[in-house]
Symmetry: none
Subunit: 157 residues, 2 copies
Amino acid sequence: MANDLMLSGVSEISLDDKGRLGLPARHRQTLRDNGDKGIVITKSIFDACLWIYPASVWVGVSRSLGGLPSNDPFNRSMQRIMMGGAVELDLDGQGRILVPAPLREFAGIRRGAVLLGLNRKFELWSAEAYAAREQEDLKMLREGAGSMGSGAAGLVL
Amino acid sequence: MANDLMLSGVSEISLDDKGRLGLPARHRQTLRDNGDKGIVITKSIFDACLWIYPASVWVGVSRSLGGLPSNDPFNRSMQRIMMGGAVELDLDGQGRILVPAPLREFAGIRRGAVLLGLNRKFELWSAEAYAAREQEDLKMLREGAGSMGSGAAGLVL
DNA sequence: CACTTTTACCCACTATCGCCCACAAGTCTA
DNA sequence: TAGACTTGTGGGCGATAGTGGGTAAAAGTG
């Protein structure tokens, strides 16, 4: 069941010269268990990184996106970036995907990359961008812990 | 029952060259009694240390994290650090776990480490970082006892 | 229609991880 | 006090995951 997916974990991955990215074995396993054969890769609307969805999750996401009223410019921007950037891909025999050049460029990914499991999707960062992002995240968390965002203040970690 | 867990105590542990960490026997026993076979290790959002959750506790934490609205940057940072960092591991035959290299690096752990039981989870520190942290903790407590943090003022210790 | 570029599939190598065995030191018991 | 057991640590080895490269088909372009 797609809603039970719990993707997580950092992986340092290197793309080869052809732009292929090998999905870590544990994630391949998770996707298989979930009945997913394909994945959808698209642009993040928040950061210079890519979002990678299991195909079964993407259908729900794209449905929600498509259902947004398009009189709102923000919605139109979101649709253009996410729907427009979305490419459906299958894994090759070695469990790899070819990340399309425009998307690689969008995220500044050359060779070193970092793949983050985030519940229902993955985020793919260039190694450099991720290192910077991690520092920013930590800074924000450590400075702003007293004024936590919506819903987060009551979390018991 | 996961909510009854009462992990406590400090242990000085040394990781071997492969990055393996042997969980102290008394904690292994506690986890067994609790019906936990796996553990989840992730990054702390507050300090340069790692959080180690029994798998049964983690499911609740990750569900809470995943449910946070992602339009808030603070939430996204939290999700990226905690969900993104989270790796599920099983103990090997000797009751050890292999701490993934990116996480070891995050916490600056090389060989000497300190494991703290904190109710529902563990904190894993590098020996040096923990020594420094302990000094800071004591300093803060002695100087700031009059202005205790949220909820602590009324504590009967 | 021919040529160039890209992509998909196959094979192959190497570093790493997971599992097993082994030992040393400390602790409890008889 | 001595022996047996438990616990913490080290290391070897086989399986496999991660990466690189070649080749043939397909698609795009002039």
